[in-house]
């Protein structure tokens, strides 16, 4: 007798565990839909363009970029912050929602974790090529050398290196740990090179109940450890700015501001990806409109934090009575970059308010449009912070506008392409939504009681044996 899926209250339609597995493995086992091919092809071409732009940067130098005094942090840092922010949704969904026992994350966590991985990879390339001499990047690591010099540990720029490296490692481990049971099933279901690949990657996972118990404990521990990292990474990124004296940067407000912005942009990007994905792969039953509604609520909450900070920034600039700060604020609002500033305000402050209303929030089309707008809005925010602040510092003789070159643009579009291409390949190899649900998130913290769906269902290996 087929039983209802234990997660039936979170998914839509009549599913048994087995029929859901068949559905969720479709993206891997069936030929890809046409949009997949388009996305992968576009992503691949852009990735090649990206590699060419990196090649140009390496062979000709940073002079090919638009950066110049005083705007020495241009598109590279704008996009670094933008990508790192996008990455945050994945870890938030994997870690914080696990701790809060928000079971609905189960439908979303795989794809957002994959998103995190590629977003952080894209982000990490920018500081590397920004160094100019990328082959010496390891000089920023604190290893003893014949130079007898250490990186300046009191500088946020060196915190950044370790924060991002830690973040990348943890997100990868999260993604991988979540994948292991999927990989074991795929190993049993596939042939040829795929069987080999899944066999190696699944590490010989057998699905033993005892293994599952430890697995769930480890998963929750990782979630607990990753939670402060999510918050710390973008706080550290914000300190890259807040530790500087540039007007518009030197605010104690920055760490929470950046963390909120990161979650906001991450959820926006997740929505941008999930809405087409559920349509192309007919996953509406798994990633339901309720899921999108929940995501819309998180987007709204974090977006309000961002909007609040925008308004507070204006107040602080005025209240501080610091001429340079106030001049910076006026420069943003009335200077040559004013359209960027006001477009950012329109999206992240005004249009955001639509998400209060269920009519808008539950309208998938609007949610999709808004998620793209929010991505643009967050890009504008980083542009405002990085470029506009630098173009107008203390000395009027120093003021200078910034204009990106084709290399800057190609580097940006290239990372977008790499991101899409990477995700497309990942979806083709690993199921975009984990088939093994509820076992990761319903673990009872500090209690021996197990989630009902997790007892008795598993092949039991009574003893640990070495085979």
């Amino acid at each position: 007798m087929p039983e209802r899926h234990p997660d039936h209250d979170l998914i839509q339609g009549e599913w048994t565990e087995r029929s859901l597995v068949e559905k969720l493995l479709e993206p891997v086992e069936k030929p890809p839909p046409r949009p997949w091919k388009v996305v992968a092809a576009v992503g691949f071409v852009l990735t090649l363009a990206w590699l060419y732009a990196i090649f140009v940067t390496f062979t000709k130098g940073l002079g090919t970029w638009g950066i110049n005094q005083p705007v020495l942090w241009g598109f590279d840092i704008v996009h670094f912050v933008w990508w790192i922010g996008i990455g945050h949704a994945g870890t938030l969904i994997s870690a914080i929602l696990v701790l809060m026992r928000q079971n609905w994350r189960d439908s979303l966590n795989r794809i957002t974790e994959a998103m995190t991985l590629f977003a952080v990879l894209c982000a990490a390339t920018y500081p590397l090529i920004h160094m100019g001499r990328a082959q010496h990047f390891y000089w920023i690591l604190p290893y003893p050398t014949h130079m007898a010099l250490w990186p300046q540990y009191k500088s946020p720029l060196s915190w950044d290196v370790l924060a991002i490296f830690t973040y990348l490692t943890i997100s990868t481990l999260f993604l991988y740990l979540g994948l292991i049971p999927d990989l074991a099933l795929l190993r049993e279901r596939s042939q040829g090179w795929r069987k080999k690949l899944y066999g190696w990657l699944s590490l010989g996972w057998t699905g033993s109940a005892l293994h599952w118990r430890r697995y769930r404990a480890a998963y929750v521990l990782l979630a607990g450890l990753a939670t402060p990292v999510v918050i710390s990474v973008h706080s550290v990124v914000s300190m890259d700015f807040a530790y500087g004296v540039v007007p518009g940067w030197h605010l104690t407000l920055f760490p929470p501001f950046f963390a909120a912005g990161a979650i906001y942009s991450g959820f926006a990007m997740a929505l941008t990806l999930l809405i087409p994905l559920r349509k192309w792969y007919r996953l509406e039953g798994v990633i339901t409109e309720r899921h999108l509604d929940w995501m819309g609520k998180v987007t709204l909450a974090s977006g309000l934090g961002v909007a609040y900070t925008y308004l507070l920034e204006i107040f602080i600039a005025w209240y501080s009575a610091e001429p340079a700060e106030w001049a910076q604020q006026l420069w943003r609002m009335t200077g040559p970059y004013a359209p960027y500033y006001w477009a950012m305000m329109l999206i992240n402050v005004v249009l955001l308010q639509t998400l209060w209303f269920p009519r808008f929030r539950r309208n998938v089309a609007w949610l999709f449009v808004f998620s793209i707008l929010a991505n643009v809005g967050m890009w504008l925010e980083r542009f405002v912070i990085v470029v506009i602040s630098l173009s107008h510092d203390f000395l009027p003789g120093n003021f200078h506008l910034y204009s990106p070159t084709w290399v800057d643009w190609t580097l940006f579009l290239g990372t977008l392409g790499f991101f899409l291409f990477g995700l497309a390949v990942l979806i083709r190899l690993f199921p975009p939504s984990p088939w093994r649900r509820c076992c990761t998130s319903t673990t009872s913290l500090g209690s021996t009681r197990e989630a009902p769906c997790c007892t008795g269902t598993w092949p039991t290996l009574t003893r640990r044996r070495s085979f």
Binding site: Y143, P144, H146, M147, A148, L149, G204, S466, F467
Partner: protein, 212 residues
């Protein structure tokens, strides 16, 4: 089956251990300088000139040939004339000196091979080092015992900084600078630090002390 599992586990945990050991090796610092190979290779010269004989045996002062060392960044190599002041009279017919005589007659310079060559991004000036009591032997080693001169130490940034961070134990009285056999006395060094107005380590290790 068992054998394959054992093999896989050895491979896996072996590589985990390997990565861990590699990290320890790099970050503990035990391997610093392991790849430095600039020490100890005698540099062949066109003329078989022996520092051991001239400086060690005869007791010529360093300054007799490297005359600019007290005043200039570069200590200087002697012109042919310096050699010939003696060798017009001493061993004037020695076959070892054929090249020197040829240079003397034709008026062409002798081309010595350089032993120490600092990178262009390093600013080094001999004069202040000599004036503050840093002996030649501190960097160049016992040249008076080298038949063919070689660079005794790898001149890495660490080598320079070790002294710039704590100069006292390596200082000697000015009159002992050219004494190859002198052994510095840390007690005296601390006094000389005051006496010679050696700048504090914060200034000596500032980036632009050496990179200008």
């Amino acid at each position: 089956m068992r054998r394959r599992n054992r093999w896989l586990k050895t491979l896996f945990w072996g590589s985990v251990l390997g990565v861990f050991l590699a990290l320890v090796l790099v970050f503990s610092g035990v391997a610093v300088g392991a790849l430095e190979q600039r020490e100890g290779r005698p540099v062949p010269q066109p003329v078989p000139f022996s520092h051991a004989f001239h400086a060690g045996g005869l007791g010529l002062s360093c300054r007799y040939c490297h005359s600019a060392v007290e005043y200039a960044p570069y200590a200087g190599l002697p012109p042919t004339e310096t050699c010939m002041t003696c060798h017009l009279y001493v061993k004037p017919d020695s076959p070892n000196l054929a090249l020197v005589r040829e240079s003397w007659e034709k008026g062409e310079l002798l081309r010595w091979n350089r032993v120490v060559n600092l990178p262009d991004f390093v600013y080094f000036h001999h004069a202040p080092h000599v004036a503050k009591g840093v002996g030649c032997a501190e960097c160049h080693g016992r040249v008076d015992q080298m038949p063919v001169v070689y660079q005794p130490k790898a001149f890495t940034m660490k080598f320079c900084l070790d002294c710039h961070r704590n100069p006292a134990p390596r200082l000697r009285p000015r009159e002992q600078v050219f004494n190859m056999a002198y052994v510095p006395d840390p007690e005296l060094g601390r006094e000389l630090l005051q006496l010679y107005h050696v700048r504090p380590p914060e200034e000596l290790t500032s980036c632009n002390t050496c990179h200008r």
